[in-house]
């Protein structure tokens, strides 16, 4: 074999290996999705959403409290994470290059990389320990802290895409900087910012670790923010690690609902982003 054929051979093997890598990654994806759908669809029924959990070992029942709990927790989280995230995103883009903007960007990326379980300990320290009991509020704080950096960074990135001429136009018409930002620049980037918030919601709705010792769990229906509250993810964890087949079944069904929610959110986000990009040309 000549040196040349050898080089060509190595190259062909390399190309094939890269293609194979894609397949190797898609195999677990397909496995997980197929299994999830197979197990989940079998167990999915209206009872899951409308009924309360039955006592351990008794078949039937649902997890209405957990779905409502997740809605409350994510709602609480966005209540304070969205304003903080959006406004700090505005700061980073309006005053880009300033020392504070650089520091805040660093803080946002750092926060984004902090393991969710560590956020859980922090929320436990500031919102559970002082009051001596687990609460929905503490869970919402933990999820909100995870949400802030995602919202802040997407807002910043999307505001930077707004053409400079729009700002100049507003300022030339005599608008103050605040007016230019909130009446012209932010509205122009709004679809993108909403997309960022939706993606952040999808991400925190699937979080379990920060809830384990903040919102804890509650086998009863509760909307009291100062009491422990059930959540879909913690419920899946408890059911999956239990010994009862019917609970395993329900865990799969709830997981399917969760994954469908996350996928719908990311598909919607993709659709909006694609549209915005097309409109911008």
């Amino acid at each position: 074999m000549t040196r040349d054929t050898m080089r060509r051979g190595i190259s062909a093997v390399f190309v094939a290996a890269c293609g194979a890598a894609v397949l190797v990654a898609l195999v677990p994806l397909a496995f997980i999705l197929v299994f999830l759908i197979k197990q989940g669809v079998q167990a999915l029924n209206m009872d899951l959403f409308t009924h309360m959990p039955k006592p351990a070992g008794e078949p039937g029942g649902g997890m209405r409290n957990a779905f409502v709990g997740t809605l409350i927790l994510t709602g609480l989280a966005s209540l304070f994470a969205v304003p903080i995230g959006v406004l700090s995103g505005v700061y980073m883009s309006e005053y880009r290059g300033t020392r504070l903007a650089v520091a805040v960007r660093f803080a946002a990326d750092t926060l984004n990389g902090v393991p969710s379980i560590v956020i859980g300990i922090f929320a436990y320290g500031i919102a559970v320990l002082p009051f001596r009991h687990f609460s929905a509020l503490a869970g919402g704080i933990a999820l909100g802290i995870m949400m802030i950096p995602i919202v802040a960074r997407t807002t910043e990135e999307l505001l930077l895409l707004v053409p400079e001429t729009m700002r100049e136009g507003a300022l030339a018409l005599g608008a103050t900087r605040a007016r230019a930002v909130f009446s012209v620049i932010v509205p122009a980037a709004l679809p993108g910012i909403v997309t960022g918030v939706v993606l952040a919601l999808a991400r925190i709705a699937g979080e379990t670790a920060p809830l384990l010792f903040t919102s804890f769990n509650n086998q009863f229906f509760s909307t009291n923010l100062r009491q422990p509250i059930a959540s879909t993810t913690v419920q899946i964890f408890n059911y999956a690690t239990s010994a009862f087949d019917d609970w395993h079944r329900q865990a799969w069904a709830a997981a399917l609902v969760l994954v469908m929610f996350v996928f719908v959110c990311s598909l919607a986000a993709r659709f909006v982003t694609a549209r915005v990009q097309r409109l911008r040309g």
């Binding site: 293609g19 956020i119 802040a152």
Partner: protein, 310 residues
Amino acid sequence: MRRELGFRVGIGAFAVLLLILVAAIGVELTRQSLLSIKEFGFRFWLTSTWDPVAGEFGALPFIWGTLYSSILALVISTPIALGIAVFISELCPARLRGPLTFLTELLAAIPSIVYGLWGIFVLAPAVRALETSTPEALRALPLFSGPPLGNGMLAAGLILAVMVIPFTSSVAREVLKTVPPAQREAAYALGATRFEAIRAAMFFARTGIIGAVMLGFGRALGETMAVTMVIGNNPQVSLSLFAPQYTMAAVIANEFTEATGDLYLHALTEIGLVLFIITLVVNTASRGLIWAMGRPARSRKPVVVAEAAA
């Protein structure tokens, strides 16, 4: 002008909240682990007795398990993630690029708890089957010793690898995009094969690629639920891939609500504090490398590709 200042201070206050938050996490975790830090000092990280009843806490098995599982995940995921990045950015037809990117990123969208669920019911039994069919001669090696339980280091490493792939590959793809086309064109002009041209491009992008791999490492270190559900939760320092072990994040998840007594709680929080510091360092280093890669290409030396065509 005063109104301008008011605006800046107003939204600046929100931005400063992020800085305060990061600092507050560090302070709060330190405050909540003081008892354990004072009681054990460095011994905490060097001993392996974890006995809440006797008040003896040594975290060596957890640090070991976290590093072992994350490095194992890295070894499995890096070639795959880089292969995907190269395939999508350099090799595949433009029409496939969007769908393939979307599919690999779906892996990142699946919640950790769902990976864990799948790990318990599908992956762990599969790993057990693999373990029972391992030949006796191999089982004698320390790497494959121990009872075939399914739940253990190998299952944890595999599931972490799958979870880390989308992060590493998407950053590596971004990094490869920043390689100037002239690099590849020059390589091809000198008669390089595809492999040789891509190798040159990857060599050019090496800092960023190392950054991408480290970013995945940072993710693996802090991953909690999926690992907790498949690693077997047994605190021991073992080389064996088949042995049930434990990680820092998993012990916090399992024992935090049951921790009776302040010392126990402080010991668990100290594990969280160290996890916080390690991920902080790894992520900062990785972002630094990726950032260095994104600088204008002119300031860096071009890569010599002559060797490729020799």
